[in-house]
């Protein structure tokens, strides 16, 4: 859809993420892998699909963006939740100011994990409301509205264990949206769903994010799905280097 491209390219929208020369190396049984981001800039309100086979480093990229994983090479990593000047995340990691990262995560990031990641001992309602509580936000009927949009209204008082996989994934989406974050990161949010439910959930995520002008980054191996939704695609290419396999993401 042209709308997304327009938001991403509009002069008014500021850069939320600016990454320049950021990398993370990890060891697979037989080889060294490296995720390498020469340059990646994401504007506020953009809807990006990170595409690639599983194991190519999509999750690693999302974790770095979510500030839950420290890159081992960090040229520039700037995060700007507001239009003001960005925060140098590399420096915050370097100084081990983990609480600052926790604060940024809690306030600005909504993360949808591959397998929900709901707390099994809280009801769906309490799970969805937890991020708001962490930020000290007032109780509103946001939970009910989200639940209605995501079609899980009658599941709110159940424990996650009593829900189907699809319902759990939708509850996780609600939790990621509840505290009105700046960015939503979703790591293969539909991988464990049947194609029809997967399509519904992805559509909901995209439209809810667009309504709220939330920046959305989705990792997916489903090329067709994201093409249909009109998201900006971020492809990776593999480079065989000296003894290691490089997975490069670049805009």
């Amino acid at each position: 859809m042209a709308r997304n491209a327009a938001v991403a390219d509009s002069v008014a929208a500021h850069w939320v993420f600016r990454l320049n020369g950021v990398g993370k190396t990890w060891l697979a049984p037989d080889k060294q892998f490296q995720l390498w981001v020469p340059q990646l800039n994401i504007r506020a309100g953009a809807q990006i699909a990170v595409l690639g086979r599983s194991g190519c480093g999509k999750s690693t990229l999302l974790d770095i963006l979510a500030m839950t994983l420290e890159p081992d090479v960090c040229g520039t990593f700037s995060f700007a939740p507001h239009e003001r000047e960005g925060i140098d995340i590399g420096k915050v990691w370097g100084k081990r100011r983990l609480d600052r990262l926790a604060g940024l995560r809690g306030r600005h990031i909504g993360y949808v994990l591959q397998t929900g990641g709901l707390l099994p001992f809280l009801t769906v309602r309490d799970n969805i409301e937890l991020p708001r509580q962490v930020c000290g936000m007032a109780r509103e009927d946001a939970t009910e509205m989200l639940a209605e949009r995501l079609n899980i209204s009658d599941q709110l008082d159940k424990l996650p264990g009593a829900l189907s996989v699809g319902q759990r994934q939708r509850a996780a989406v609600a939790r990621a949206l509840a505290h009105e974050p700046t960015v939503i990161l979703a790591d293969e949010p539909t991988a464990s769903l049947d194609p029809q439910t997967a399509g519904e959930v992805m559509e909901l995520v995209v439209s809810l994010a667009a309504q709220r002008n939330i920046t959305l980054v989705v990792a997916s191996h489903d090329w067709q799905g994201v093409t249909d939704l009109g998201m900006v695609q971020l492809q990776h290419k593999q480079v065989e280097g000296t003894g290691k396999l490089r997975s490069v993401f670049q805009t």
């Binding site: 994983l69 983990l98 995560r105 707390l119 099994p120 001992f121």
Partner: protein
């Protein structure tokens, strides 16, 4: 600033609420942890209860037995009033009264108004502060009062208040003669104090009997005719008790120093053996306890550690949602603390149940002991606090470790 403090107070309340919710959600495994803790802690408490109850009580009782603080004289000696005064002045000596010669120490006894056959009883010189009578009866304080052993009282059917007639015989120049004294039974003491037929009297009565048997008249009792004894008086022995067990050896050496041929028999060796026994037993108990406590702390600490490992994903989710690490650490710490508290309280309840059984059994089997298995409130408090500290430290260390790793690892590797 104010809102920051408020915010952290609410997050604190939140994390405690979350930890409790999770414990309740996993009630089965929580209950298993509580039971496992109680199962290890209860035998330890019983072991300590027995060590404290049996050993300490029994040994203390043994050491407090006045007989072990007695110094006896073998054979005869010659001690005047001055010697007794000198002995009484010593701090180490709790009680000393003169003994007369063996011949003067038995009399015949029977109730005043009954024709029952008379019995022979041993006379024991007694007086204020007699350690044997302590806790059982007041010592005789008048020449006419007597404290009977249970064996004597049984034989003549005497109870406190009974008037008894004491007969003393002597043979002078082939002629038997007999005199009497009327005595009032002031008290009867149990067999544990004096197992044979005996009577505790003031030394004055013994002196009178000795004088009478030596052929003198005793005007105080209206016994015999002729001269009363008028010379310097010497006693052939004494009943002597020191104040503390540790004084026994010292006072014995003091007495030996007075006269080289002085032979004193004490229970010093028996006491030494008891002490040695106590030391060995204490050492054994300490070893068992050390192994038991170390094993307990290790296994409990380990299960708390494993509990945190199991919670890695939940902890990482909390980190992802923006909870700060020190707050998240409270999640397993609160859980461990609650498990430790419940387990320790359960163990203490079971300890009380078992100690009632043990004490009931021994009360039936060996009447004189009670509280063979018992602990002081301070012991229970120590076990409670030690368990709590161990739980909190183990969970804290594990939690510190698991909140140091990047949240993404905890989220992906499970």
């Amino acid at each position: 600033m104010n809102t920051t403090a408020e915010l952290s107070r609410t997050t604190l309340a939140q994390i405690i609420r979350l930890a409790t919710r999770d414990l309740i959600h996993q009630r089965l495994s929580s209950a298993v942890l509580v039971l496992a803790l109680a199962a290890v802690l209860t035998p330890l408490l019983v072991l300590f209860g027995l060590k404290f109850g049996v050993i300490d009580n029994l040994l203390r009782e043994l050491m407090q037995d006045p007989r072990n603080r007695e110094i006896r004289l073998i054979g005869h000696g010659r001690f005047d009033a001055g010697w007794f005064a000198q002995m009484r002045a010593l701090d180490e000596i709790a009680f000393v009264v003169p003994r007369t010669r063996g011949a003067a120490t038995t009399i015949d006894l029977r109730p005043e108004n009954a024709s029952q056959p008379q019995i022979k009883v041993e006379l024991i010189p007694s007086g204020q502060g007699d350690p044997l009578l302590q806790g059982h009866a007041a010592p005789p304080d008048q020449p006419g009062s007597v404290v009977l052993s249970a064996a004597s009282a049984r034989a003549i059917g005497a109870t406190p208040g009974t008037r008894v007639k004491a007969s003393v015989r002597r043979k002078i120049e082939g002629q038997w003669s007999r005199v009497h004294a009327l005595l009032t039974v002031a008290a009867v003491v149990p067999d544990s104090v004096f197992p044979r037929k005996g009577a505790f009297v003031m030394p004055a009565l013994l002196v009178a009997i000795e004088d009478y048997r030596d052929g003198y008249a005793v005007p105080e009792y209206n016994w015999g005719e002729g001269e009363a004894f008028n010379g310097p008086r010497y006693y052939s022995g004494f009943r002597l008790y020191v104040r503390e067990l540790d004084d026994v050896a010292h006072v014995r050496d003091l007495l030996r120093a007075q006269e080289a041929s002085f032979e004193v028999s004490t229970k010093a060796r028996a006491i030494e053996e008891v002490r040695l026994f106590d030391r060995y037993l204490t050492a054994t108990f300490l070893m068992i306890a050390f192994i038991g406590v170390a094993g307990f702390l290790l296994s409990f600490g380990a299960s708390m550690w494993v509990n945190v490992e199991r919670k890695q994903r939940e902890l990482s989710v909390l980190q992802l949602l923006g909870f700060r690490s020190p707050i998240i650490m409270l999640f397993p710490i609160v859980q461990s603390g609650l498990i430790a508290l419940s387990g320790a309280v359960l163990a203490i309840i079971m300890f009380f149940g078992i100690s009632v059984l043990i004490n009931g059994y021994f009360a039936r089997e060996a009447g004189q002991f009670d509280g063979l298995c018992r602990l002081l409130p301070s012991h229970l408090a120590i076990s409670l606090v030690a368990t709590l500290v161990c739980a909190v430290v183990a969970a804290g260390l594990a939690a510190y470790r698991s909140t140091r790793i990047e949240p993404s690892k905890g989220l992906r590797e499970l």
